[in-house]
Symmetry: C2
Amino acid sequence: MSLVVIGSVAYDAIETPHGKVERTLGGSCTYIALSASYFTKTSIVAVVGQDFAEEDRALLAGKGVDLEGLEQVPGKTFFWSGIYSSDMNDRTTLRTDLNVFAEFSPKLPASYAKEPYLFLGNIQPVLQSRVQRQMNGVRFAGGDTMNLWISQNRDELLATVRNWDFLLINDSEARMLAGEHNLRKAAEKILDLGPNTLVIKRGEYGAMMIRRDSLFMVPGYLLVDLFDPTGAGDCFAGGFVGYLAERGFDLRSGLFDIRELHRAVIYGSVMGSFCCEQFGVQRFRTLTREQIDQRFEEFRRFTAF
Amino acid sequence: MSLVVIGSVAYDAIETPHGKVERTLGGSCTYIALSASYFTKTSIVAVVGQDFAEEDRALLAGKGVDLEGLEQVPGKTFFWSGIYSSDMNDRTTLRTDLNVFAEFSPKLPASYAKEPYLFLGNIQPVLQSRVQRQMNGVRFAGGDTMNLWISQNRDELLATVRNWDFLLINDSEARMLAGEHNLRKAAEKILDLGPNTLVIKRGEYGAMMIRRDSLFMVPGYLLVDLFDPTGAGDCFAGGFVGYLAERGFDLRSGLFDIRELHRAVIYGSVMGSFCCEQFGVQRFRTLTREQIDQRFEEFRRFTAF
């Protein structure tokens, strides 16, 4: 079933120990949609400038992504540049030019309003809420956030998250949001904020999912070649929610096989791992669903005992 | 079947965000033996000074640990003190008094020489080799090391490790030993050094086991209360090798169920997690095998998909 994704579409300049790229398609919405497109029909809501290239539009369209909600306005597309540390565990932002993204006011096409699944990528919480209010057939909704909103727009974020079924963040954000270092305790506090499902991403160390009725953990995939971690967390999100949408999963009914949620975390991990194998979105030019399912089975083999 | 463990027996002063203890039983041999004793008959080779307390001897003896190889000599027992960072991911050594450990020359009692399993805790590689040469009925042997020996006694360490069936180290040591940051590549290089089985501990992030024929990964146990991580890696080692000894596992024959090795990694993780729940060795005063097996099953539940 169909998924609506909202977030940023950007151009990135990235430097890692393996090389450098001056301008490549990026942004949370891009990565989430590319990843989710392997599982389900995906529609995006985002904004780009007049410099947005036809070939980048074609990459998304080629994956079947519905671009009706991709608004093109005068000005330049959001630009970000960053450099990774030698072990790629840290990165430094060199430049952030919000450009047309600064005035982003998401407009939901009428044809999207009854879609059953919604993923709100990391943007201003007030904008996330505004989109969600326009969607009246949503079966479940959730999203991501970041340290900036947690510290500077806390009340708005809490009001937004209260209406989410799931929240998907990294471990430092979870600790910051809960004001608690111990992840298990932090997770309990976050489950009091509204979402019934919390997914915590831990980069190369894997991920976990915490609900009142279950705890699930997955180690990170041990990559032979880690070229560029940019977008890996967003690809995780796309795999997670994309798989649930593909399965027609109903998180609100409570009537489901919990293992489907676990498998969604595995598909998230699989998609995050593929993303790192090449620069930017390159891996998605050749990636096939068969390769995805093979890696899913690999996860099964290397975690079974 | 019986396991021989060699390493340090010490007194530790530990400070964590949860409290402080001035003098408590510690040392790699102590933790490994306490942990392994839940699975198999365990005999130790270590040295202590005249200050070694009767109650500490009684704790080990009470777990059935054979103390014939625990030599008591004039002088003081090895003393270590350290303080953990607020998130307990880093620790600073405040004091290391080697005392009687400085002149430690392991003496293997005749009754140990034909035991089938040997774990060489982290001591000078030359001493590890000397003990191994005295054991003539060993079915499999392996051990631990540390950054000091990797950098300063590299040749001796390589000569020692060449005769091991397995090596059990943490991720930073693996990277240092291989001279390679990527863990998968580092592991391949280490498997060229002799051991057919490499176990890499990653603290709160879990552990992995790498062989030419298999890869196994386990996430860390999400503790509600993490009081003191001291000894957790050694307890992991004790659970890993203790379980294999209990099962009469023959790593050299190649004729075994690989899942038994995976289960050994899980038992290692279980023992490491229990160790952190109280200061020093305190948790082992009350821990039961039933609790261990329950947590093993918990690992199964939270990793199945």
